[in-house]
C-alpha cells in the first residue's frame, strides 16, 4: 500500500510540466501527468490522484470543461483541484471557483516553493 500521495498534473507546456513534476517528486509525491483535457479525465479515473493541478489553457477540451467533468464525476469530485493557470481575468477566477476549484494560482506570479506550500495545504 503506497503511503505517498499522488498528484495529477494537467499541463500542455512540456517545460512547465517537467519542472513541476520534478519538484513534486522531490517533495515526495507520486506524480501522474496528462497533456490535454480528454486524457486528463482518463488518467484521473485510472490513477485516482489525491490532488489535481489543472491548467485552464489546454488544447481540445478546455480547462473549465475538464474541471466541470471532474466535479461531476462521482469518483473524482472529492479530489481537491488547484487551478494552475496563466489566465488571470477576474471572470476566469470566479468561473473556476464556481465550478468547484479549491484554489486558483497564476503560474507566473508564484514560485515553485509557493506552489508546493499550496499543494501541501490542500492535500490534507
Amino acid at each position: 500500500m503506497e503511503s505517498k500521495k499522488k498528484i495529477l498534473i494537467v499541463e500542455d507546456d512540456e517545460f512547465l510540466r517537467s519542472l513541476t513534476a520534478k519538484r513534486l517528486e522531490k517533495e515526495g509525491y507520486g506524480v501522474a501527468v496528462a497533456v490535454d483535457g480528454e486524457s486528463a479525465l482518463v488518467t484521473a479515473m485510472d490513477e485516482k490522484p489525491d490532488l489535481i493541478l489543472l491548467d485552464l489553457l489546454l488544447p481540445g477540451l478546455d480547462g473549465f470543461e475538464v474541471l466541470g467533468k471532474f466535479k461531476a464525476n462521482a469518483n473524482l469530485k472529492k479530489v481537491p483541484v488547484i487551478v494552475f493557470s496563466n489566465l488571470g481575468q477576474k471572470e476566469d477566477i470566479e468561473k473556476a471557483k464556481l465550478l468547484g476549484a479549491d484554489q486558483y494560482l497564476i503560474k507566473a506570479n508564484f514560485t515553485l516553493d509557493d506552489v508546493m506550500a499550496k499543494v501541501s495545504e490542500a492535500i490534507k
Binding site: L16, L19, L87
Partner: protein
C-alpha cells in the same frame, strides 16, 4: 428609408397616371372625332355618342384627380397615397369596362391594358398578373359580362343603346385573352425593374447624399434621408470600431497570457538554480542567476501591469463602490509592508488619526492597490535608515464635499523638478529612480492616478531631490462624480 422612397414613387406614379390618362382619353376623343368626321364605317373605333359622354365624364374626373394629387403631396400621408392609387386604377377599370361595352371588345380591350400596366407600377408583381388573369376570364365570359353591364347601364342611362355580341365564347376572343395575359406579365416585369431602380437610387442617395431625381418637392424628405444616411454610416463605423477594439483586447489578452507561460518556466528555472536544487553554484554564478531572476520578475510584473492598463483602457476595469474603512485599509497595508521595510532598515509607520473617520465610499481593493504602489515606491526610493510616514487627514471632512486625504511621506531620493511633470505618465521613470531601482516598470503611478480619478479624487505630490517626497491622494467620502471618464 425605403418607405419614404416608395412613397415618392407612388406619388410620382399617380401623377404620371393622371397625365397619361389625359393623353389617352384625349387620343380616344380624337379618334372618335376623326372617325365621325371621316365617316369611316369599318373603323375599329366606331363609338356611339354615348361614348363621348363617357370620355368627357372621365376627363372631368381626371381633372379632379389632378387637383387631388396636388393636395395629397402636401399631406404626406402614405395611406392616402395608397388609397388614391386604388381609386385611380379602379376608375380606369370602370372606364375600360364601360368603353368595352360601348365600343365592342376589339377596341375596348386595348383600354384595359392601361390599368394593367399601371397596376404593375404601383403594386407587387402578383397584382398585374392577377388582374390580367381575371380580365382574361372576363373576356372569356364576355357576352355574360356584357349583358349584365348593359342591363345595368340601360337602367341608369335611358338613351343608352348598344349592340350585344351574343356569342358566348368567341374564338377570336382567344387572341385578346392571350394579349391581356401577356401584358399582365409584361407589366409585372416592368414594375419589378422600376422597383429595382428605385432601390438602386436609394442606395446611391445614401452614398452620395444627393438626389439625382429631385423633384424639388420633398426637401424635408431629402434632408431626412441625408441624416439617415449619415446615421447609417456612423452605425457602421461604430460597429467596426467595436470589432477592432475587441480584436485588440483579445490580442493583448491572449499574448499576455501566452507570455506568462514561458515566463513562469524561466522563473522556476532560476528559482531551482538559486536554491541549489540542481546542484550548488559558486558566487559568480549566483550573482548572474539573481540578475536573471530579477529580470524575469520584472517582465512578469510588466505583463501583469499591461493587462491592468488594457483593462482600464477598455473600460473593463470595474470599480465597485462600497462604504469601507480607510483606517483599517491603511493599517493592513502597513502591516504587510513591515517585513520589506525592516529588511531595508526603514521605519514604516502610520499615524492613526485621533478623530473618528467615517466610512468612505470606494473600491477597497483598488484603493489598496494605490496604497501598495505608494508604499512600495517609498520603500524602493528611500535609502537605508530612512523613514516612511503615512497619515490620514480629516481636515476636509467639514467641507461641502467631504473627503479624506492620505499622505505617504518619505525622506528618500526625491524627484527632481525637471522631471516632475511626467511622473504620472505611462512607463515614465525618473533617472534617479532608474538608478536606484532598475526593476521598475513606470506603470504604477499611471494606474494609481486612474484609480483615484475614477473615485472622483485627486492625487498629487511634493518633492525635492535628495530630500524626500510626499505623495497625497484625496477621496470623496460619498458617491463620487466622475471627473474623468475611464
Amino acid at each position: 428609408m425605403i418607405d419614404s422612397q416608395s412613397y415618392r414613387t407612388k406619388l410620382a406614379a399617380n401623377d404620371s397616371l393622371i397625365t397619361a390618362r389625359f393623353f389617352y382619353l384625349g387620343a380616344l376623343l380624337i379618334m372618335i372625332f376623326s372617325s365621325y368626321l371621316l365617316a369611316a364605317q369599318s373603323s375599329v373605333l366606331t363609338v356611339p355618342a354615348t361614348g363621348l359622354y363617357l370620355i368627357s365624364f372621365f376627363l372631368g374626373l381626371n381633372i379632379f384627380f389632378f387637383l387631388s394629387v396636388k393636395w395629397l403631396s402636401g399631406k404626406k400621408s402614405f395611406t392616402a397615397v395608397n388609397v388614391f392609387s386604388y381609386v385611380q386604377i379602379a376608375a380606369d377599370f370602370i372606364f375600360a369596362s364601360l368603353f368595352t361595352v360601348l365600343s365592342g371588345l376589339n377596341a375596348g380591350f386595348l383600354v384595359f391594358l392601361l390599368p394593367i400596366f399601371f397596376a404593375g407600377m404601383f403594386w407587387p408583381s402578383y397584382a398585374p398578373i392577377t388582374l390580367s388573369i381575371l380580365f382574361s376570364a372576363a373576356v372569356a365570359l364576355y357576352s355574360t359580362f356584357n349583358e349584365i353591364l348593359g342591363t345595368v347601364l340601360v337602367l341608369l342611362i335611358p338613351s343608352f343603346n348598344i349592340e350585344f355580341n351574343s356569342a358566348f365564347f368567341d374564338p377570336s376572343n382567344a387572341i385578346i385573352i392571350i394579349i391581356i395575359l401577356l401584358s399582365g406579365f409584361l407589366s409585372a416585369y416592368l414594375g419589378k425593374i422600376a422597383k429595382e431602380r428605385d432601390t438602386l437610387i436609394s442606395v446611391c442617395q445614401y452614398k452620395l447624399g444627393g438626389d439625382p431625381h429631385d423633384h424639388k418637392r420633398e426637401i424635408d424628405d431629402k434632408s431626412k434621408r441625408i441624416i439617415q444616411a449619415k446615421e447609417f454610416e456612423v452605425e457602421r463605423a461604430n460597429e467596426r470600431l467595436s470589432t477592432l477594439e475587441k480584436a485588440k483586447a483579445d490580442f493583448v489578452s491572449v499574448t499576455t497570457h501566452q507570455l506568462r507561460t514561458p515566463l513562469a518556466g524561466i522563473k522556476w528555472t532560476f528559482e531551482m538554480l538559486l536554491k541549489g536544487q540542481v546542484g550548488e553554484s559558486n558566487p559568480n554564478q549566483r550573482e548572474i542567476l539573481e540578475k536573471g531572476y530579477a529580470s524575469t520578475e520584472r517582465m512578469i510584473r510588466m505583463v501583469n501591469e499591461i493587462l491592468s492598463i488594457e483593462k482600464i483602457e477598455n473600460e473593463r476595469f470595474e470599480v465597485v463602490f462600497i462604504y469601507s474603512d480607510m483606517v483599517k485599509l491603511i493599517e493592513n497595508a502597513v502591516i504587510e509592508f513591515q517585513a520589506p521595510a525592516i529588511g531595508k532598515g526603514l521605519r514604516l509607520s502610520f499615524a492613526r488619526p485621533e478623530t473618528n473617520i467615517p466610512l468612505v465610499m470606494m473600491d477597497a481593493d483598488k484603493v489598496r492597490m494605490v496604497l501598495d504602489n505608494l508604499i512600495e515606491n517609498a520603500i524602493k526610493y528611500t535609502k537605508i535608515g530612512g523613514d516612511i510616514n503615512i497619515s490620514l487627514d480629516s481636515r476636509r471632512l467639514n467641507s461641502a464635499r467631504p473627503a479624506v486625504e492620505v499622505t505617504v511621506k518619505d525622506n528618500g531620493i526625491g524627484i527632481s523638478e525637471k522631471f516632475q511633470d511626467d511622473i504620472f505618465t505611462k512607463f515614465y521613470r525618473g533617472p534617479n529612480a532608474r538608478k536606484a531601482e532598475p526593476g521598475g516598470t513606470g506603470l504604477g503611478l499611471f494606474i494609481s492616478k486612474t484609480i483615484i480619478e475614477a473615485h472622483g479624487g485627486t492625487i498629487w505630490f511634493e518633492s525635492e531631490e535628495n530630500t524626500g517626497t510626499v505623495f497625497h491622494f484625496s477621496l470623496p467620502v460619498h458617491h463620487p462624480e466622475r471627473g474623468e471618464n475611464l
